[in-house]
């Protein structure tokens, strides 16, 4: 005789109810479409972006009529011609690319030892301290951090005050290209470390011990063993830092003194200063194309690194 005192746990009832509800909302006959259902949010997000790009693409093919401040009806590639033939946009694009490359190289150079120390340290206190130091800047926005550097590096700032103590005249540390790079590297460092840390965690410490037991010094083990194994992390971090730097607006605007514009600043100028949405849109699309081409080339040559999320190249 069955035991009638037996009762299913409550959570089983809850799960059964949820399953019945799911059956009503998404019947088993739809199961072949489940993959699409899961992909729907991503499709929606990408779809919205594509719609926006189509609108920007459309706007980019109309020139501004300064007698009415409306876009012309006729379609034309004049905005692209202006952008390609303008010395100022070439200069600004070249500066953006150079700055993004330098920022990526410097950020990775600083981020690797930081992430390595954070992953390998045996002291929980040191690890926590490094994590806190890493995350603290996230609570301070980019603009505020840039203004912080204005205070620290200004003619009357702390650095020049300290130089004054040893008899050095105030030096102009701000409003030039190196100041922009400095601000960008400081801003990008947490991104670099956070992208690198999982890749370094995945490298067993035993590999270093093995390299040492075979006679490799620690620097040689880092160079020949850890760095190659950390390549996916370096590529992932590099792509994130490069794309963020390439499209940055605030650092060149605040630390550049007005003469170190990036492409994003030029786009802002067209949209908001001269009200030329056509040229602004053309520049925006060219920035998207430039970034996509470079990232595509990196993916092709070196793979997507940790951004591939374990997928084979």
């Amino acid at each position: 005789m069955p035991d009638r005192s037996f009762r299913y746990p409550l959570r089983w009832h809850v799960m059964d109810a949820l399953e019945r509800g799911a059956d009503i909302l998404w019947p088993a006959t739809f199961s072949r479409m489940t993959g699409w259902l899961l992909a729907a949010p991503a499709i929606l997000l990408v779809g919205l972006l594509v719609l926006g790009l189509i609108q920007i693409g459309d706007a980019s093919m109309h020139v501004l009529d300064t007698s009415t401040f409306r876009m012309s009806e006729a379609y034309t590639l004049a905005n692209y011609a202006d952008a390609f033939t303008s010395a100022v946009y070439f200069k600004v694009a070249w500066r953006s690319l150079l700055a993004a490359a330098l920022t990526t190289a410097l950020t990775l150079a600083f981020a690797f030892p930081y992430a390595y120390a954070m992953v390998r340290t045996r002291s929980a206190t040191v690890r926590k301290a490094l994590l806190i130091a890493l995350f603290l800047p996230f609570f301070i926005g980019q603009v505020v951090r840039a203004y912080g550097w204005l205070i620290i590096l200004g003619n009357n700032g702390i650095v020049n005050d300290m130089l004054g103590v040893v008899g050095v005249e105030p030096i102009r540390l701000l409003f030039n290209f190196p100041a922009v790079i400095f601000g960008l590297v400081q801003y990008m460092l947490p991104f670099g470390v956070l992208m690198l840390a999982p890749a370094l965690t995945a490298i067993p410490e035993e590999t270093e011990i093995a390299a040492g037991s075979l006679g490799a010094s620690w620097p040689r083990a880092i160079w020949h063993v850890i760095l190659p194994m950390a390549r996916p992390g370096l590529i992932g971090a590099g792509i994130v830092v490069f794309t963020l730097s390439l499209t940055d607006f605030a650092m060149p605007a605040i630390l550049g003194g007005g003469s170190q514009d990036f492409i994003a600043n030029a786009i802002y100028d067209q949209f908001f200063r001269t009200a030329d949405q056509g040229l602004g849109s053309a520049l925006a699309l060219m920035l998207v194309a430039l970034g996509s081409l470079i990232v595509g080339a990196v993916f092709t040559l070196f793979g997507a690194g940790t951004l591939a999320l374990g997928a084979r190249k």
Binding site: L64, T66, S67, T68, F69, R70, S86, A87, V88, K91, V92, R95, L150, G154, N155, N156, G157, P170, R172, L174, F175, G257, G258, S259, D261, A266, D269, F271, F272, R273, T274, A275, D276, Q277
Partner: protein
């Protein structure tokens, strides 16, 4: 040109209501006694876009607070930059949405773009316009899509310590190598083009056909690595000892001086640009809110409001008989008589608007090079 897409009936109603209500408003009647029968329903607040710092404080003291006292309508100030609110208004009008603000305090050049685009309401029925000078009328536009509210000068502001022999006499004095990295200009070059045209050996009559003398002088200045920024940057740079000279609006120099920054200003022999700011109302407001937005502007061009508002800004208004702020009566940045304008350069907004993009591009080309 189209300043309003609404019917004449409403315009007629507005005009008749304003003709009677305007005088009452300016006379400072208490809110409860203002046209109890004719006035449209009052909104709880109106939103006025303004520049921050001393600019908005002066507007509050001279216009917004008295307006609230008289009408009971709260005035909220939106400090979005003028060039950033512009596309938002344009988009709202294009999409038949309610605009984000009721009144836009704008440069006349920027406002002219909106007028040419046809997104501004007609303000020609404001009763207080009858008491204003020609400065209130936007040049090159039909009617009053904008009401200019005061004029201002892009002066040469300087640190007296950097000029021990007295104020600079010419814009060319800035070419001294000791000012390398110590000059500041607006990042779009605004205010500097026209004196640069003269300093570069050109003529104002050649604007806009031949601006090469201007660009030549800008190149000479570029060799001295000037800083490029906005109003707040100039104050900060003067305060932090980053610059010795700047081409900036006299109000900013005055505000910096009042905040203890050692700064003076002058109009060099080549002259300085004189321009105006104004107020305008975007299309798409409900009728009652449009009425009160126009009342706000009508009050802003009353003598009572102008006196207090422009005392705060240190600028000459558009109503005769204003008393200059202390110390500015004979100042070149406070022109009131015809002879005061002899050394000031005024180019029509129409010319500026149509060539701004080209000038901006040339200026950037030099400065980013």
């Amino acid at each position: 040109m189209r300043y309003t897409g609404k019917g004449l009936t409403r315009r007629g109603l507005m005009r008749s209501a304003m003709a009677t209500s305007g005088a009452a408003l300016v006379a400072g009647m208490p809110a409860g006694r203002l046209l109890a029968q004719d006035e449209p329903e009052k909104p709880s607040e109106i939103i006025v876009r303004a520049w921050g710092g001393s600019w908005v404080e002066a507007l509050k003291a001279g216009v917004s607070n008295p307006f609230t006292e008289m009408t009971g309508i709260t005035v909220r100030h939106d400090l979005t930059e003028d060039n950033e609110i512009q596309p938002k208004i344009w988009a709202a009008v294009a999409q038949n949405r309610m605009p984000p603000i009721h009144v836009n305090w704008d440069t006349t050049t920027n406002a002219t773009k909106s007028a040419l685009r046809g997104v501004t309401e007609d303000l020609s029925d404001l009763p207080n316009l009858a008491n204003t000078t020609d400065l209130a009328k936007p040049v090159g536009l039909d009617g009053y899509p904008i009401v200019n509210t005061y004029g201002y000068v892009y002066v040469l502001a300087y640190r007296p310590e950097a000029f021990p022999d007295g104020p600079p006499q010419s814009w060319r004095d800035l070419l001294d190598p000791r000012f390398d990295g110590r000059i500041a200009l607006y990042n779009d070059g605004i205010g500097f083009h026209f004196p640069a045209q003269v300093a570069g050996g050109g003529s104002l009559d050649d604007i806009p056909e031949n601006m090469e003398p201007c660009w030549d002088f800008v190149r000479e200045i570029k060799a001295l690595n000037p800083l490029l920024g906005e109003d707040p940057d100039f104050t900060a740079w003067f305060q932090n000892g980053e610059i010795d000279v700047a081409c900036t609006i006299s109000t900013n120099a005055l505000a910096a001086q009042q905040n203890g920054v050692p700064i003076e200003w002058t109009v060099p022999q080549e002259g300085c640009k004189f321009d105006t700011d104004g107020l305008w109302v975007p299309q798409g407001l409900p009728e009652n809110e449009l009425y009160w937005a126009k009342q706000y502007i009508n009050f802003a061009i009353s003598q009572e409001a102008q006196q207090v508002w422009l005392d705060g800004l240190g600028l000459p208004g558009v109503v005769p008989g204003l008393t200059p702020p202390e110390g500015l009566a004979d100042d070149p940045s406070y022109p009131t008589e015809p002879e005061d304008f002899e050394n000031l350069i005024r180019i029509s907004s129409e010319v500026q608007v149509q060539n701004e993009s080209e000038w901006f591009s040339r200026f950037k080309e030099i400065m980013q090079g």
